[in-house]
């Protein structure tokens, strides 16, 4: 069963890599298809996907997402406009973005018809193996040692209640931080190298901790987000996260709120969720970890936060730091009552 899923996800990933990757950005993972055979398989999978996308497009019930509507409307304007002063590619950024958004929307629709087609499931599968296999110098599995808050080894619904307070460490942890703590403490895993570079580069698969987080998140799919806010330390983490969300710093004076504290705004053509508003937080927060097409890998919440701080002209946010856990605690607090939909699929 697991093998079949893995194989399917592999072809799906190659398909979306070739198709959407080319449309979306310059981060084209063609190098992934290393051998002739792989390239042919990927091409075939891509052609099949395109055929299905066309069919989905023709289906009368198919409804485009709201954000996909504004972009195509803007596109003809670009064609009619006089020559732009800056050097322009043959296809304008706006046209590319619009095409990407349309492609993504088709893919999201397909994914709903066939939930197994999200490439993130490949990582969830890998995560399941990493969780259950006996690993590390101590040769024990996390499934027989690690308590994610629902009892040792119990993964069902654990993700939906994160972040939460753990008495054994006397601190609040999110899923990723807890997994690493378990690896260090039960498997005797040396995390020095991991902590230096905890997230994948473009085109590389999510690292082991992220793969396990993806697996654990998938075991809460469809459940209500119920992050904890009872213990004083949980309240403290949420309050700290809130303060950090609105804190302006660094040479550009940015805070999270600069981009994410108003409805209906966008950066270039990318819509920005109003994350301090529960209504919008409920829709998007529960989608992480998500397969991010522009990066061609699964991105976890810890990675996503690092990415925001990068844009805010801050340095690399430490994995599992108080700051990253507090911001997660705040976001999941805002999203409480929404649906845990990870692993999601993102631009």
């Amino acid at each position: 069963m697991r093998g079949w899923r893995r194989q399917f996800a592999a072809t799906a990933m190659a398909g979306i890599g070739l198709g959407l990757g080319i449309m979306a950005t310059g981060f084209v993972p063609l190098a992934e298809a290393q051998t002739r055979g792989e390239a042919d398989r990927a091409r075939k999978a891509y052609e099949e996907h395109m055929k299905r996308m066309d069919e989905a497009e023709k289906a009368p019930t198919a409804k485009p997402a709201p954000q996909a509507q504004s972009a195509p409307a803007a596109a003809p304007k670009a064609a009619a406009a006089p020559a732009a002063p800056a050097v322009k590619p043959a296809m304008s950024q706006a046209d590319q973005d619009a095409a990407t958004e349309r492609g993504l929307e088709q893919y999201r629709r397909m994914m709903k018809e066939d939930p197994w087609s999200n490439p993130a499931l490949l990582d969830a599968d890998r995560g399941e193996a990493l969780w259950t296999d006996k690993r590390g110098p101590k040769k024990v599995s996390l499934a027989e040692t690690c308590d994610l808050g629902k009892g040792v080894g119990n993964v069902d619904g654990a993700f939906a209640e994160m972040p939460r307070y753990f008495a054994d460490v006397d601190r609040v942890m999110d899923t990723e931080t807890r997994i690493l703590w378990c690896m260090e403490n039960f498997q005797d895993f040396d995390s020095t190298a991991f902590r230096k570079s905890p997230h994948p580069g473009g085109g590389q698969p999510v690292k082991d901790v992220g793969a396990m987080a993806t697996f654990i998140a998938s075991k809460s799919a469809g459940m209500k987000i119920a992050s904890h806010a009872d213990h004083p330390k949980e309240k403290e983490a949420i309050a700290l996260g809130e303060m950090l969300f609105f804190r302006r710093q660094a040479p550009f004076d940015f805070s999270c709120a600069t981009c994410h504290a108003e409805s209906g705004k966008r950066i270039r053509l990318q819509p920005l969720p109003f994350l301090s508003d529960p209504k919008e937080a409920k829709v998007v927060v529960g989608e992480w970890p998500a397969y991010r097409v522009s990066n061609t890998h699964v991105m976890t919440m810890q990675h996503r936060l690092l990415d925001c701080y990068w844009q805010m002209r801050m340095h690399k946010l430490d994995f599992g730091s108080e700051v990253s856990v507090a911001l997660s605690a705040y976001l999941y607090d805002r999203a409480r009552g929404g649906t845990s939909a990870a692993p999601g699929l993102k631009r």
């Binding site: 803007a74 596109a75 304007k77 670009a78 406009a81 006089p82 020559a83 732009a84 002063p85 800056a86 304008s92 950024q93 706006a94 973005d97 230096k196 004083p232 330390k233 309240k235 403290e236 949420i238 309050a239 700290l240 809130e242 303060m243 950090l244 609105f246 804190r247 302006r248 710093q249 660094a250 040479p251 550009f252 004076d253 940015f254 805070s255 709120a257 600069t258 981009c259 504290a261 108003e262 209906g264 705004k265 966008r266 950066i267 270039r268 053509l269 990318q270 920005l272 990068w310 844009q311 002209r313 801050m314 340095h315 690399k316 946010l317 430490d318 730091s321 108080e322 700051v323 507090a326």
Partner: protein, 204 residues
């Protein structure tokens, strides 16, 4: 010395028993935790975590300062603005367009610097008609100069706005491009030309 004082204050806070129900956060605690959270940052990046008075007030007020706070922020900002020595506030709008398109600069992946910093104006503002990939965090600047009849006073206001937006709009979301050393005076002049020059596609 300052760092030691902060760490000492943090240690004192840790010793404080029983958190209140509301879990109030001391801004100092947030600053200390941020220092701990970016352990890979080079030493000279520590100043990026510290906030000046303007950032402290704007963060605490969630960008809605009181009248008294706003006046102080505006006065402080105004005092930081430096003007071109030759008195000319407008440069080359074509160079300005390139600066407006570029989001490069000051991210950890931008070191060592490979090209001049950008202003990334299009991330938040509509400007020329040709560029349809623009953000909406800031107001549209379409025909900004034309609407104002290219008035001298508005040229100066635009220069000051880009140099330090808080001088006219306290707790503006816009980066203080001049005061914070993101853009040079010449780059700001080029952007002023993009917004205020009659030849610029912004005004066509």
């Amino acid at each position: 010395m300052k760092k030691q004082m902060i760490l000492a204050a943090f240690a004192a806070m840790l010793a404080t028993p029983a958190l209140s129900q509301e879990a109030k956060v001391d801004p100092l605690q947030a600053e200390v935790l941020l220092r701990f959270a970016f352990s890979q940052a080079p030493a000279d990046w520590a100043k990026r975590i510290a906030q000046d008075e303007t950032m402290k007030v704007c963060s605490a007020a969630r960008n809605a300062p009181s009248t008294a706070e706003a006046e102080k922020i505006m006065a402080t900002a105004k005092a930081t603005i430096k003007y071109p020595e030759d008195g000319k506030l407008m440069g080359d709008w074509k160079k300005g367009e390139a600066i407006a398109q570029s989001g490069y600069g000051m991210r950890f992946s931008d070191y060592p610097p490979r090209r001049p910093n950008g202003g990334n104006c299009y991330a938040c503002h509509q400007m020329t008609q040709a560029e349809v990939s623009y953000g909406t965090v800031g107001p549209s600047l379409r025909e900004y100069g034309k609407i104002r009849k290219f008035a001298e006073a508005d040229v100066k206001a635009v220069y000051e706005k880009i140099y330090n937006a808080h001088a006219s709009f306290p707790c503006s979301l816009m980066p203080r491009f001049g005061s914070n050393g993101v853009l040079s005076i010449d780059q700001i002049k080029d952007l002023v030309a993009l917004v205020m020059s009659p030849d610029s596609p912004v005004n066509k």
